[in-house]
């Protein structure tokens, strides 16, 4: 038996024993997502146990180095683990910006001390991270940010504000872009710093979205002390770290649209809601949009698969992540537009009614942000035009 095969069997056995039954069911609401953190609210003991068990093997981050608590698996073993988790419909043990965003940047740019300090708590879900990038006057033009970190010898004092901090009011620590040199050209005076959000001078204010939820905050800094050893990468070279991390974010956002899309066939919903006429959807005007959507969903899935295979074969993804971010989010928005059309009058109710407290219309409204957050669709198209197609400008 090959090493991979035996790993599969071991993993299967371990999961059978260690993944609680309730962690093998679909989420019932957003509350079921486990974000960890100092103030983690576990919805059940089994949720806590599942996190602890997975973290103990480093499987919250299967491919990260074992020396920092990661799983230490290579791609092929990680794929086996993913397959086995998927086979039993296991919920993710932990969702975390520490995993999806900060971790890879720390592993690439952080000092040994910073890795030792921050990575193990990320693996174990003990610290919840928040991202401090956008500012009210620095949206698509991120590098024009103005939050400033003044040098006070062994530390900085940070003043300014950030906007669009995901779950900023629930974060323990923040990774944050600050201007450390106000004389330099805009991309060159930025540093990437880490600090505890419990530090005096940090405050947050939730932003109410059109969907009725407040997943983001504004975050304000009033003379916030940041230690100098908490700079990731070189001082004034934070833009390099940020770009690396943005690429990761784009991939995540692009793919999230897809995996959701894969969860239910929109044509099945349409047939159930609208009915057939001689084997053809009753409202034939919708058929064409539905067929195009379904084809594009498969095409995107295949393209993600192809990109993974190419990366495996040694290619680098690079600016192509902009393509996934662009198309994945636009596709998800098309999907929700069609779901609203199919939903008909039921889809109009905001609370109560036929559609589970307005879940569909609220999700639909939320998707309108997909093509804005993490770099607008226009920014992605610019990146494709310049970096891939080589157009000037």
């Amino acid at each position: 038996m090959s090493d991979l095969e035996s790993f599969r069997l071991e993993t299967r056995d371990w999961l059978e024993e260690n993944c609680p039954k309730s962690m093998r069911t679909p989420y019932e609401s957003d509350d079921d997502i486990c974000w960890g953190g100092r103030n983690a609210k576990f919805t059940s003991d089994e949720q806590r146990l599942w996190l602890q068990r997975m973290a103990s093997r480093g499987w919250t981050v299967p491919t990260w180095p074992a020396e920092y608590g990661g799983g230490g698996l290579d791609r092929e073993h990680a794929k086996v683990l993913a397959d086995e988790l998927s086979r039993i419909h296991a919920r993710p043990a932990l969702m975390s910006f520490g995993i999806s965003m900060l971790g890879p940047a720390l592993l690439k740019f952080g000092t040994e001390a910073l890795r030792q300090q921050h990575i193990p708590p990320i693996v174990r879900g003990e610290i919840r991270w928040a991202q401090g990038y956008s500012e009210p006057n620095a949206g698509s033009d991120l590098a024009s940010l103005q939050t400033r970190a003044d040098d006070h010898g062994d530390h900085y004092k940070v003043n300014g504000s950030k906007i669009w901090t995901s779950y900023g009011d629930k974060g323990d620590w923040m990774f944050c872009l600050v201007r450390t040199d106000s004389e330099a050209r805009k991309h060159e005076g930025i540093s990437f710093v880490l600090f505890d959000m419990a530090t005096p001078g940090v405050s947050t204010k939730p932003i109410l979205l059109i969907s009725g939820a407040s997943p983001f905050t504004e975050t304000f800094f009033d003379d916030v002390r940041v230690e100098k050893d908490q700079v990731v990468g070189e001082v004034n070279k934070g833009w390099t770290v940020a770009k690396y991390l943005l690429t990761h974010e784009r991939e995540m956002i692009g793919e999230s649209g897809v995996s959701e899309a894969g969860s239910a066939s929109i044509s099945e919903i349409a047939v159930r809601k609208m009915g057939l006429n001689n084997g053809v959807l009753k409202n034939t005007m919708l058929r064409s949009d539905i067929a195009k959507l379904e084809i594009d969903e498969i095409a995107l899935d295949l393209t993600i698969q192809r990109a993974r295979d190419e990366v495996k074969a040694g290619a680098s993804l690079g600016a192509q992540s902009s393509m996934f971010k662009y198309f994945g989010t636009e596709l998800n928005m098309r999907r929700y537009e069609l779901l609203m059309a199919i939903g008909g009058l039921d889809a109009l109710d905001w609370d109560g009614g036929e559609n589970a407290d307005g879940l569909l219309p609220k999700s639909w409204l939320r998707t309108k942000g997909n093509s804005i957050e993490g770099g607008t669709s226009e920014i992605q198209l610019n990146i494709i035009a310049k970096r891939i197609l080589g157009l000037p400008g």
Partner: protein
């Protein structure tokens, strides 16, 4: 008739814009929502609107109205679309007035038209029953007994249903035809539940359990249902036109003000070309709406294709405007604080009620023989 507004109409439009902008801007809708208003509209505001005569515009002079026609009420709805002001103008002052004028008996006219014109009596259309708008399917039944009818069934998405005095109810009769009945909201057996729509307006689910209705409460013409819906659809098209224009104007202002990369973002062709295309689509929409209202005023017999064309075109364009409005406002557009999102929400509701763009494209094609 020329496809331009005459002087009187321009004055009406300007007056409406002044009033609504001052007294009932988008902030008015927000405050109704935040105050938890249970019916979704302000009766104080309605009283002021009635004072200006807007409720009387469609009703003929002989019935106490102004006989000012559809072009006039269309302008009011268009302006209401710009401010997202919730009023009973569409259901009562436009549709009910048109329906009773055209299909009502003398008694019905005498009863309802003056009351509509004075804004004291409000009517609501009780048509839809299931999840899809489908006027050909009606499970509410009107059973004849001793010269009267007994109504049983339920209706959903009844606009203004929470405060209307009378429902215009579509019900299937024993000969399988669908009749329209004027049913008092106070009649025994009528039960009204209001629901919040996503645009923060309210609608109602209405149950009819053994509701007794006199034969005199039936509207005479059997094709009244389609006529009534088509008038409503043209009114919706006018409202969508207001929404589309307002969103375009606000978004253009934002593109001129918002700076990124050291310039106003309107300088970027990627946005400017989309804006110019949207402008063009809206110009087409203006003509479509004006034309449809003129045809109503002219008493054109067959307005089905005109109404479906107007609804399909306006739904598509207003939706494009509303989504482009959010996208071009960037992160701000996603916040509840920025008003642009209210337009998308309202747009979705107006689109969906009485048939969305898919429904009307389908209907238009069928009416055109394909």
């Amino acid at each position: 008739m020329a496809l331009v507004l005459n002087e009187e109409q321009v004055m009406l439009r300007d007056a409406a814009r002044d009033f609504l902008t001052a007294r009932a801007p988008v902030e008015h809708l927000r405050s109704l929502r935040d105050a938890g208003n249970s019916v979704g509209y302000s009766s104080e505001l309605w009283a002021e609107i009635v004072d200006m005569g807007w409720a009387a515009i469609v009703v003929a002079e002989e019935h106490g109205g102004l006989g000012y026609g559809f072009a006039g009420i269309g302008l009011l709805l268009e302006e209401s679309g710009r401010t997202l002001t919730p009023t009973p103008l569409l259901s009562s002052s436009m549709v009910a007035a048109a329906l009773i004028t055209r299909h009502g008996s003398d008694d019905q006219k005498a009863t309802y038209l003056p009351a509509l014109a004075s804004g004291e009596h409000l009517l609501a259309l009780a048509v839809d029953e299931g999840t899809q708008h489908d006027p050909t399917s009606c499970n509410t039944v009107a059973v004849e007994a001793a010269g009267n009818y007994s109504l049983n069934g339920s209706k959903v998405a009844v606009v203004d249903g929470g405060f209307a005095n009378t429902f215009i109810v579509a019900a299937r009769k024993s000969d399988e035809s669908t009749g329209l009945f004027l049913v008092s909201a106070n009649a025994t057996g009528v039960k009204v539940d209001t629901v919040s729509h996503l645009d923060t307006h309210k609608a109602a689910t209405v149950l009819f359990a053994d509701v007794e209705v006199s034969a005199a409460a039936e509207l005479a013409m059997p094709d009244g249902l389609e006529f009534m819906l088509d008038v409503a659809r043209i009114g919706q098209a006018a409202e969508l036109l207001g929404i589309a224009q307002e969103v375009l104007e606000r978004t253009m202002t934002y593109l001129k003000d918002r700076k990124q990369f050291g310039v106003a973002i309107g300088v970027f062709q990627g946005l400017a070309h989309r804006a110019a295309n949207l402008y063009t689509e809206i110009e087409l929409c203006k003509s479509v709406v004006l034309h449809a209202l003129r045809e109503l005023d002219a008493g054109t017999e067959d307005i089905a294709a005109i109404a479906s064309m107007a609804k399909a075109k306006l739904a598509e364009t207003a939706h494009l405007a509303a989504t482009e409005g959010i996208q071009m406002h960037g992160g701000m557009g996603m916040t509840d604080e920025c008003e642009i999102g209210f337009f998308l929400k309202r747009c979705q509701i107006v689109e969906a009620l009485y048939g969305d763009r898919y429904f009307h494209l389908d209907r238009y094609a069928k009416l055109s023989g394909y």
